[in-house]
């Protein structure tokens, strides 16, 4: 169980995350979507206690009843691998190039679980099989540079699962991979989370991947969660103007033919320090009101378990905006 309440992360004046609140129940799979700079990776790192040293965090963060708000690295170390694990984007250098991948996976097994060398080896072999690595016996003895990108990512997943964590955070795990490999990795993560009853936080800018993987989706912009809800509902019927823009900007094949020009959200994601104090999306929003830039929108409940942070939600709910 993860409980985040009013979590903010600051770098000096700039707010990288602003008052994030969310709850994850055991076995739940959450997708975090947003453009680069939206704060989704920062939120992932915050859940691992691995924010950069200069970052100042405030708010409450509880994982499995451990209050980790302001916890020291020593406390976090006890959580990592055993409670929360994380896999990252670039699989090329994400593994120590001087070590056989088997030894890398065995390290936390021996260190955290105190397994003997042969037990750790047996366990690593099982993990390799579980993550769908071909010829696992042989792969244990190979070095990262001898594996393909997809295989390396599977090794990283095996490593993350080594100490049987209740939560897996996957930060853009497929971005560096070929499309068909990416698809298999996404499905593997979904299957593993389901089989193990493990919480999954799937961070991606790829809406299709999130739709495949997650049950709940949180759309992030400018360090805030602007919209959250069951993935099917949010993607089929977005409430927030940003989510709508994001969905429109996707290349889709309609009637067998690719649309010539993709619609875009006007403007660029502003730098952290230049974000407007009120609604983060103001300045780029198509349905903006004069007070949007200065006033922070409240988080409105929009039916069922859905929420949306937009000043115009009441009108959206009335259907006046369609």
């Amino acid at each position: 169980m993860i409980e985040v309440q009013d979590l903010s992360v600051r770098f000096g004046e700039a707010e990288a995350l602003r008052r994030i609140s969310l709850t994850l129940t055991p076995g739940e799979r959450l997708g975090l979507v947003g453009e680069s700079g939206s704060g989704k990776s920062m939120l992932g790192l915050a859940l691992m206690g691995m924010l950069p040293e200069q970052a100042a965090m405030s708010g409450r963060l509880t994982i499995d009843a451990h209050d980790l708000s302001g916890a020291a690295d020593r406390e976090w170390r006890e959580m990592r691998a055993r409670k929360v694990a994380m896999i990252f984007q670039e699989p090329m250098m994400a593994l120590n190039p001087l070590r056989r991948v088997g030894d890398t996976v065995m390290e936390p097994l021996r260190l955290h679980l105190g397994l003997s060398k042969s037990d750790a080896r047996r366990r690593a072999l099982e993990l390799f099989e579980e993550t769908g690595i071909q010829d696992p016996e042989e792969k244990l003895r190979q070095y990262p540079h001898e594996l393909s990108g997809g295989q390396r990512q599977r090794v990283l997943i095996a490593l993350a699962l080594a100490c049987d964590p209740g939560i897996l955070i996957a930060d853009e795990p497929t971005t560096a991979l070929d499309a068909h490999v990416a698809l298999r990795i996404t499905d593997l993560l979904t299957r593993l989370a389901r089989d193990r009853g493990m919480m999954l936080v799937f961070i991606s800018h790829d809406l299709a991947a999130v739709a495949r993987t997650a049950e709940t989706v949180a759309v992030m912009y400018g360090g805030e969660i602007v919209e959250m809800g069951p993935v099917g509902q949010v993607l089929s019927d977005p409430k927030h103007p940003y989510t709508k823009g994001l969905l429109h900007a996707r290349p889709t094949i309609t009637g067998g033919e690719l649309r010539k020009r993709l619609p875009m959200i006007p403007g660029n994601v502003p730098a952290l320090a230049d974000l407007p104090p009120g609604c983060r999306f103001s300045g780029r929003c198509a349905v903006e009101l004069p007070h949007c830039a200065g006033t922070r929108p409240a988080i409105h409940a929009v039916g069922g378990s859905r929420s949306c942070a937009c000043h115009r939600v009441p009108e959206v709910m009335d259907g006046a905006m369609e």
């Binding site: 006890e78 691998a81 994380m86 250098m93 593994l95 260190l111």
Partner: protein
């Protein structure tokens, strides 16, 4: 691997041969007449001419080289003009002292340099890093002979903890080792300052790589990440510099042995050059060159042992 070793061995022999030619040529075009060295300034021209003929000094240079190199291959480096004993005896007598000094110097350099470099990197941007970098900057700037004199003044003259110089021989190992402490320190301090800086920057570069984040995410302690993940990956530049420093330490013994009155090869080099002792100088230069070339060879092998990705480049 065999192909690699064979090629490197041939390269090694070719290098040594080339060095021997250069050394021989240089020593023979330098002014100075060995016959004067042997017979003294007061000797008659007739006597000198007779001696030159006897020593074969009037032969053409290529013939003299062939004589010399053929002897050297069989372990006969000629007879010292100055000491009047076989050069090989001179060298063998002094080799243990210089090798010990060079070995201790290298060991101290590596230990101190890597330790300080890692501590600096671990405390990047904080006081410890700042202090180590300041001290190592000073260390690099200080010449070894001057440092030697300061060490003698402090530890031998003022505190009287250690002998100021000289070597009592290996019969008393404790006294022998005690007399090597100051020379080793003088040799190692400057070199380890250089190594500390290289270690620090290499470690800092590795720290930014993704696998360090992976190790952190696996709940590893800082010490373990530093020792087991960062340091091994930082070793390639470190080993390169250590290889060059072995050469620095070996040639550094020339100065250090003279400052501390140690009867080793370094002192022998100095004496032989001053005395125009051709055969001794030639043998010593080739020996020093061989040590340096061997070190480079070992460094190349170390690369492959450190980094499995380099194995493909061997053949």
């Amino acid at each position: 691997m065999q192909v690699f070793l064979l090629r490197r061995t041939l390269g090694f022999l070719a290098t040594i041969l080339a060095i021997s030619v250069i050394v021989f040529l240089v020593m023979n075009v330098l002014p100075g007449d060995p016959s004067v060295t042997i017979l003294g300034i007061d000797s008659t021209e007739d006597a000198r001419a007779a001696l030159r003929a006897q020593l074969g000094l009037d032969d053409p240079i290529w013939l003299r080289y062939l004589h010399w190199i053929w002897g050297a291959v069989r372990g006969d480096f000629g007879t010292s003009y100055f000491f009047r004993v076989p050069v090989s005896d001179l060298i063998l007598e002094r080799l243990p002292l210089t090798l010990s000094l060079a070995a201790f110097g290298t060991l101290a350099t590596v230990t101190l340099g890597i330790l300080l470099g890692v501590i600096a990197a671990a405390n990047h941007g904080r006081a410890g890093d700042w202090l180590i970098m300041l001290v190592s900057q000073l260390g690099i700037a200080v010449p070894a002979f001057w440092l030697s004199m300061l060490l003698v003044l402090l530890f031998a003259v003022k505190l009287r903890w250690l002998p100021p110089g000289g070597f009592p021989g290996w019969d008393d190992p404790v006294a022998a080792l005690r007399s090597l402490i100051l020379p080793t320190t003088a040799l190692a301090l400057v070199q380890s300052a250089v190594l500390a800086r290289v270690t620090r920057s290499s470690a800092l570069e590795v720290m930014r790589l993704d696998f360090v984040r992976t190790a952190r995410a696996s709940g590893m302690t800082r010490g373990r990440i530093l020792g087991r993940h960062i340091l091994p990956n930082a070793l390639v530049p470190i080993v390169t510099i250590v290889g060059m420093q072995v050469a620095g330490v070996v040639t550094g013994t020339i100065v250090i042995e003279n400052v501390f009155y140690l009867p080793g090869l370094g002192r022998l080099v100095f004496q032989s050059i001053a005395n125009r002792d051709l055969f001794t100088v030639q043998a010593l230069v080739v020996l020093f060159a061989a040590i340096v070339v061997t070190t480079n060879f070992l460094v190349d092998i170390a690369y492959v042992l450190i980094d499995p990705r380099l194995k493909g480049r061997l053949s």
